[in-house]
Subunit: 447 residues, 2 copies
């Protein structure tokens, strides 16, 4: 996914690979261990000092490393120049297309948020071309905004609610978008006229959200977790020991389509019967709680947060239909979560999307059913009642996401940042090559 960049003379393939690996080693050390001198880096990476100096020079040219000061700690010899990751001039962009919105989230390498935007749009009623046009337009605006903030974009990560071939960036099937075999990475790269060095990674929205929670959320550092998207679709991102469980053919984590009630006869958006999504998806919630306001394809577009706000209002007012619906959804949330726990045994189940604002009305039934059916002991409210303190390390907990609707786009930006740290040559060494005008021109054609 990388091209020959301006900063590096052509090298034989093997040497180029070694060079990339060494650039990543030095940059990664600075990321993990913090600012330090060239001599420190040489000692710690076991590379010789001349090599480290050459690597640092290249990383500096690429805008990834800068000198932050001089350390004179009384040691013999001249004071050492201290190096640090230069987060300010390189950034990545997360994008998301979902049933009823497109979103973008851009950060620089230091984590400063440069773009954070979500536009309501009915993609369930749009063609894949129209949807990609909207996404391209949002991406172009975002790239402009990031360029204006002084950050060159070195990678893009795109979240899609569906089955994705992550290896080539193609969406195989996204039922709630109506997409089949859409080469999203190639289409975006072309429409945005991206430099080939700027990789476009595409992954399932729940997978990217799970990674975002592991990196940034309240469960940062929890390497065994399941993220559930509470939207029109209910997807799952399953992290086992910090790695995504994709399965033998990429169909792992399709938790919304667990057959939790095949006898119900209720048809899912995927065409199957009795899927978990028919019990706990946003459409099920709206259908049951707001029969006067059907949530269907072709209905006037409404932001899901507006609908959720209305349901929340009704719940606070004590509306019996709303409260019964939320109790029933909480119950099925706990039953489905218990199945996940009995197979995967994560440390935490992180609930995203609409589950977050309504969690107060879901938690009791959800934790009760989880504790009733899970083999692992359950933490949270149920755990406080039942569990001994020493059991805490074995407990599984359900927690609402602190990242809310932004988890997937943040995850997209995060995987793109990881790609830069894994291969610093993704960042072009010639800063003059950023051309923001091209993005908009092409995106307008694409829409």
């Amino acid at each position: 996914m990388t091209s020959q960049s301006a900063a590096t003379p052509a090298l034989p393939a093997d040497q180029a690979t070694v060079r990339r690996s060494n650039l990543a080693l030095v940059l990664g050390r600075l990321r993990e261990a913090g600012p330090r001198s060239r001599a420190d880096l040489a000692t710690e990476t076991k590379l010789n000092k001349a090599t480290v100096s050459s690597l640092v020079a290249e990383l500096t040219t690429r805008g990834l490393v800068r000198e932050t000061g001089i350390r004179s700690d009384g040691a013999v010899g001249r004071p050492a120049r201290i190096l640090a990751v230069d987060g300010a001039t390189v950034g990545t962009l997360g994008l998301e297309a979902n049933a009823d919105y497109v979103a973008a989230h851009g950060t620089d390498l230091a984590g400063r948020v440069l773009v954070n935007r979500r536009d309501s749009v009915d993609l369930m009623g749009a063609s894949a071309d129209q949807a990609l046009g909207r996404l391209t337009s949002l991406a172009a605006d975002s790239l402009d905004a990031m360029a204006a903030a002084g950050a060159r974009v070195a990678g893009i990560g795109v979240a899609i609610p569906g089955l994705v071939d992550a290896a080539d960036g193609t969406v195989l099937f996204a039922p709630n978008l109506g997409w089949r075999n859409v080469p999203v990475a190639a289409r975006l790269a072309s429409a945005l006229r991206l430099d080939p060095a700027i990789g476009v990674l595409v992954d399932n929205d729940a997978n990217l959200s799970a990674l975002a929670e592991y990196r940034l959320g309240s469960e940062a550092g929890t390497a065994d977790l399941v993220y559930l998207t509470g939207e029109v679709g209910v997807g799952g991102g399953v992290l086992v020991d910090g790695r995504l469980l994709r399965g033998s053919a990429g169909f792992g984590g399709e938790v919304g389509h667990m057959a939790v009630d095949p006898a119900s006869g209720v048809l899912c958006g995927c065409g199957r019967i009795g899927c978990w999504e028919t019990k706990v998806g946003l459409a099920a919630l709206v259908r049951q709680a707001m029969p006067d306001s059907p949530y269907r394809i072709g209905a006037p577009v409404r932001d899901p947060e507006d609908r959720v706000a209305e349901i929340l209002e009704r719940a606070r007012a004590g509306d019996p239909r709303t409260l019964n619906t939320l109790e029933e959804i909480g119950r099925w949330l706990g039953i489905g979560a218990s199945i996940l726990v009995n197979i995967v045994n994560p440390k935490a189940i992180v609930l995203g999307g609409y589950f977050v604002p309504l969690w107060l009305y879901l938690v009791d039934a959800a934790e009760r059913e989880l504790a009733r059916h899970a083999i692992a002991p359950v933490g949270g409210a149920a755990g406080y009642l039942n569990g001994a303190a020493g059991e805490a390390a074995r407990q599984v907990r359900m927690v609402p996401s602190a990242l809310g609707f932004t988890a997937a786009v943040r995850g997209g930006a995060a995987v793109a940042i990881d790609a830069v740290f894994a291969d610093p040559t993704r960042v072009d060494g010639d800063r003059s090559r950023v051309d923001t005008s091209a993005h908009h021109q092409e995106s307008e054609v694409a829409v």
Copy 2:
């Protein structure tokens, strides 16, 4: 888990670790790449020739390597002596305690079967002490038989249908045995007076069966598979990319307790309601198909194969109750399998225990429900009808185990062999120290 053995002089901890690692490197190379010379090994492992010679000498003393001949291929210099793994004098033993039997399977490193035995016994009605006594007695007989066949036992792997802390060999909870917190590894080592170098590994029976299928069964080499134990309990061993999915606290793979029908009100052996085991476990089969012959604790012990043979006979005779029961069990087998597939997406689901002899009567309903509810395309009979040829690589299939009831004990022997290859110092260098008489003496006390 290793002790200072007679063949190695005391070394500082770091040096001993390096030595063990180098022994494993040389032995592993011979295992994977086949017979070769010391010079070949030096080239391939990047160790110097003197070190390789010393390592080979130690491995030979430990009975793990032998010279098989001389290669004189016309090259300059004297002919090279060819080395190979010496499989004949070192073996491992797999053991299993299950609800209604104990079993043993002993092999040497070359895979020659030295012991293969299963004794019917009602462990559901026995105390943990009684059960361990039976297992110890069987182990002692097996160790004697292996010694008589000229193989010293270098490790034991024990399969238990329950939650196991594999790190210290303790069974935390085995509902169908009635065990809680039983330190099986320590109890067996003590009762059998094992040399501390002989590691006793304990793991869940489904986990060990999954490993056996991956190593030895018809799915050998399939790194993403789920093994289901079709016994009184229904356990799952989940392999993801060749590694067992244990979960954050060891509760992974408890698939028999997925809440597939919580509204049913049917109580499981674990105390929960609506578990998959209440739909597809052997007790459910017997209860529904043979109401005249209840399967309960305290009933006269009957070998499960006898019961299964009787059901098979009734099915062949066209008995409607039996056929309806098998159809219903096949249906629930497919529904539960579809849930596993939608979360984990294995390449194969391998069915063990009673599912194997009755597969012909289960397969149609099972594959139909799996294809109806799984996102991944389904192979097997359903796949032949629906799937395009090019889809084969993405398909998931259900297959009956070719290892049958022996999968778990074979897995136990296999993990013990892996432990020897990972640390060859587990095999004592002083062959005179094998004392078979001690085993029996102590085992008789323990019973």
